[in-house]
């Protein structure tokens, strides 16, 4: 497969961003490769209902 790209003029007036978080990438420019990997774990058992107890206290 042959993929040919012609980049014409790119002109942007204004960019408004509130947040860039957790290993995210905000890029103005060219890139060859970008690899992203993300894992967010909030399983049902992560909702703990009961007395507030300390979390794995220092041994």
């Amino acid at each position: 497969m042959d993929f040919h790209v012609v980049n014409g003029e790119l002109c942007v007036e204004h960019i408004e961003v509130v947040g860039v978080s957790a290993s995210s990438l905000f890029l103005i420019g060219d890139a060859q490769t970008i690899q992203l990997s993300s894992a967010f774990d909030t399983p049902p058992e992560s909702l703990i209902i009961g007395p507030t107890f300390p979390f794995i206290p220092k041994g």
């Binding site: 980049n7 509130v18 947040g19 290993s23 990997s37 967010f40 009961g50 507030t52 300390p54």
Partner: protein, 143 residues
Amino acid sequence: MLSRIVKVNSLSLKVLSFSALLQIGDCSYADASSKAFALQRYKSVFDGEEANCVDYPIFHLPSVYLPITEPVQTTFKQSKPFIKVNQINIVGATLSSIIGIGNINHSSMESRIMHIRQVPYKQNKQEQLNEINEGLPAEPNDS
């Protein structure tokens, strides 16, 4: 590959925290990773001694990246050698994120977040539900 030149007139950035990076200029390789353990409590009472060695499998999973190699022949032609941006306004960047002004050849970014909520136990079922749903918008009444 020929890369374009980036022209930015003005950049405003308020907060840069937790190993976030503002990169101005070209860069050949960027490798970022972040791990976060978020513990949300009904009342924000935290003991400084706790959660020092949190050991969850999510933090030990091997990095899963899509392969770089693709069986595609690519050719690029830049008819205009500039990327122009007049103004950029960013409030905050955090947790190993990158704001790149310029070319970044290869970048791999990884994040692992464990999120836990702790809610105090209530004898009354309705009271319990109210406590969990506190802060959420009220559901529309059907009747």
